[in-house]
């Protein structure tokens, strides 16, 4: 059985933001603005999620004249499942009593 990793808060935020857009494509810069995260945080997360098959990528097909095509992102089916699991875990954590300092330990994406 594949090892299940708990995503970092930033990765969870990216997953949830992409899940909210459903089938629509998102831009990297819009994700940065929506989440209040820097490109140096969001893009490595997108790279990892894409390499693990949770995010699919594409290029704009008809960019405005004089501007290169932008990269687009949306969740794959596996990514949508992961996003649902992350959201459920977050809801469960909110509902549970205060877990103490151990729950604040950093996790990897």
């Amino acid at each position: 059985m594949a090892r299940v990793r708990h995503p970092s808060p930033q990765t969870a935020a990216v997953l949830v933001a992409l899940a909210e857009n459903g089938e629509d494509w998102s831009h990297g810069y819009d994700l940065c603005r929506t989440l209040g995260l820097k490109a140096g945080t969001v893009y490595p997360i997108l790279i990892r999620l894409a390499e693990r098959g949770h995010v699919e990528t594409s290029w704009e097909t008809d960019p405005p004249r004089g501007r290169p095509a932008r990269h687009l992102y949306r969740l794959t089916t596996a990514g949508a499942e992961l996003a649902r699991a992350v959201a459920a875990a977050a809801r469960a954590a909110e509902a549970a009593p205060a877990p103490g300092p151990a729950a604040l330990a950093p996790r990897t994406a």
Binding site: H27, Y29, K38, A39, P68, H71
Partner: protein, 412 residues
């Protein structure tokens, strides 16, 4: 044998590659336009390689180098006779720092050549890169030659250093000027790299943030190049200057974090094992045969290994930067291996009264001095200089041996 390896494997690749690049470019120019157009192409290269903003920048480089050399000479003269008290040979340290500075100048000239070549073509880039080196040499000479003339005229008014010959006090600065000759091939190689990226139809840089992000993402490994293009395209869609700055800085950080090629850790571990085993073997062989220390091995052995790592990585990833990044990690591993094996071996050498492990030239008075000899800053810097030369040569060869097919653009 070490001298032969150093010359053939570590120092030769860059000049040979530059000669091949120039020969291929000349052949192509003659095929397309005939011999008669060569003179006009050279004139165009000169014109494009010097016009604004290049020439004001060259003047800035010359002035900056002159000011820096002036300050460094003052610092050197103020500290050179205090070295023995601090346990450091300041003259030797200055000499190896000069070598390191020459390597940095080669990088600067290659970067200048690549940047100009991207916008104005190979000839203009080569001219701009070579003139960058000339500007550095002119600036250094402008500050060094008057001081050297004063020293040669009246050496008594300058500090006296026991282990330097008569008239050699300012030798590190003269050596730097001579070693700059080693940097000459790098503008040619940088221009060739910049002219190649020109074919990927990138838009001209809109501001300094786009230029910086272009540079940071220009040479990512093949499996990351689409992400570099994604960051550049995203920046092109952002208009507010503060947002552009923030996004470009974040994008540069993302490129640095994500740019490490695959298998870099495995190469580093392999290099560490080989360097550790080689250091141990060289130490024991030198002890058994009463030879000198093993500094030669520390310089040449890892240089050859790093050249191989950089070459293979650059070749596999079609990326000069990927080769350099993998070699940097392997170089760090080599340094750790040298210290890990060197410290116990230095103690063995001291116990057997065989001299310092590095040079074998004198018996260390205490075990502490034997151990500290392994981490002498001047020896470590000279190792890093030659390792960097080997890595840069390997990365350049790897990139040249596996060029992108014509017309290929970044894409996912």
């Amino acid at each position: 044998m070490f001298d032969f390896l150093l010359t053939l494997v570590v120092l030769a690749p860059a000049p040979l590659l530059a000669i091949v690049v120039l020969a291929v470019r000349l052949r192509d120019a003659v095929r397309h336009g005939g011999v008669g157009t060569l003179a006009s192409r050279v004139r165009a290269g000169w014109r494009d390689g010097t016009r604004r903003p290049v020439w004001p920048l060259l003047i800035g480089v010359a002035a900056g180098t002159a000011a820096l050399t002036f300050g460094l000479q003052r610092l050197y003269l103020a500290t050179v006779d205090k070295g023995p008290g601090w346990g450091v040979d300041i003259a030797l340290l200055a000499m190896v720092l000069g070598l390191l500075a020459a390597v940095a100048c080669a990088g600067l000239a290659a970067l200048a050549a690549a940047t100009v070549a991207r916008a104005r073509g190979f000839g203009a880039g080569t001219v701009a890169g070579l003139l960058t080196l000339v500007a550095v040499a002119v600036g250094t000479a402008a500050a060094h030659l008057p001081l050297n003339a004063a020293y040669q005229a009246e050496p008594g008014s300058f500090p006296v250093v026991a282990n330097l010959g008569a008239g050699d006090l300012l030798l590190p600065f003269a050596v730097f000027l001579v070693v700059l000759i080693w940097a000459l091939p790098w503008p040619v190689l940088g221009a060739a790299r910049g002219a190649r990226t020109e074919t990927t139809q990138r838009l001209p840089a809109r501001d300094v943030w786009q230029l910086l992000l272009d540079l940071a993402t220009a040479d990512l490994p093949e499996n990351r190049s689409a992400w570099g293009a994604a960051l550049r395209a995203e920046l092109a869609a952002i208009d507010p200057p503060a947002e552009r700055r923030r996004f470009a800085l974040g994008g540069m950080w993302a490129a640095l974090r994500s740019g490490r090629p695959r298998a870099a850790w495995a190469s580093a571990a392999g290099v560490a094992v080989l360097v550790a085993a080689g250091s141990f073997a060289a130490s024991r062989w030198s002890l058994a045969h009463s030879r000198g220390g093993i500094l030669d091995f520390w310089i040449v052995g890892p240089s050859v290994l790093l050249l191989a790592v950089a070459l293979v990585t650059a070749w596999r990833n079609r990326s000069f930067g990927a080769g350099l990044r993998a070699a940097a990690l392997s170089g760090l591993a080599a340094l750790v291996a040298i210290i890990a094996v060197g410290v116990p071996e230095a103690l063995v050498w001291a116990q057997r009264q065989a001299g310092y492990l590095s040079t074998g030239d004198a018996v260390p008075p205490t075990w502490q001095s034997a151990v500290l000899d392994v981490v002498r800053p001047d020896f470590i810097i000279i190792m890093i200089v030659f390792w960097a030369i080997g890595a840069a040569g390997g990365a350049a060869m790897g990139t040249a041996l596996r060029r992108d097919p014509a017309g290929v653009t970044d894409g996912s």
